[in-house]
Amino acid sequence: MASFISCPHCGIRPKEEFTVRGDASVIRPEPDASDEAWHNYVHIRANPRGRTREHWQHVFGCRRFLVVERDTVTHEVYSVTDGGSR
């Protein structure tokens, strides 16, 4: 992982100001979705070798959940966006 994350609200900050919540590509299913959809949402992860999207919260800064798109091999960060602005 990169040493810094460029928070869209706070600027460039060390990774230690953030905590990671996990895969941002899984979307919480509707309440009446299938059991499998719910199982997949909670337990199954694509875990790609390469580009991935994760939720990181800037806990020491703005406390916003951010979507960090990055590479799991090179640790390069491609983009950081606010996780609430879908």
Binding site: R13, E16, E17, V59, F60, R63
Partner: protein, 186 residues
């Protein structure tokens, strides 16, 4: 009955001699959190501007810390609530936050021991503020002058941050002491 507010660093005697690098503990600062919908943020900022005399610290989208060094907490809360009625919530944090002011020629070097952001004045400018991490502790951090910085910390962490800052400043014989009058009487 009459109740007194006690500063969490009360009892720290202060340095005998004030050094060029100094950590000031203002006794009483009114601080409030202002929360708004993201869509109302611009109106809130306009409201602050209209008030004219408020120090506001941008914390997050739709969230600010508002400071007053002259007003009492209840007054600040009341005034803000009136000013921002219907567009924001105001939460008094005056008792929950502690402000420390570090100044002096070595302030940057002292703070670089705890703060990861680049403190070069061209990068972190006078008047700029941010929530960030100082050592292990979360603070709201602001540059109030070329060589002057303000740190606002959660009350329960105040003693730890204070001790950390003194340790960071030991190399430069950092002095410290309270400023301002006694806290208001509620």
């Amino acid at each position: 009955m009459s109740f007194q507010s006690r500063h969490p660093l009360e009892g720290k005697a202060g340095s005998a001699v004030r050094a060029v690098d100094h950590l000031e503990i203002p006794r009483s600062v009114a601080i409030a959190t202002v929360l708004s919908r993201l869509s109302d943020a611009a109106m809130v900022v306009a409201g602050f501007a209209a008030a004219g005399d408020l120090t506001m610290r941008n914390v997050a989208p739709g969230e600010w810390l508002v400071l007053s060094h002259v007003e009492r907490a209840v007054n600040l809360e009341r005034r803000l609530a009136a000013l921002l009625a219907d567009i924001a919530e105001v939460v008094d944090q005056s008792e929950g936050r502690v402000l420390l002011r570090l100044s002096g020629p070595n302030a940057r070097r002292i703070l670089a021991k705890g703060v990861a952001v680049d403190l070069d004045p061209s990068v972190f400018t006078v008047g700029q503020s941010a929530n960030l991490r100082c050592g292990h502790i979360a603070v709201n951090f602001a540059r109030s002058g070329e060589n002057e910085f303000e740190l606002i910390v959660f009350r329960s962490f105040a003693e730890s941050l204070f001790e950390d800052l003194l340790a960071m400043g030991r190399e430069f014989d950092l002095s410290y002491g309270f400023s301002g009058g006694l806290a208001d009487q509620g």
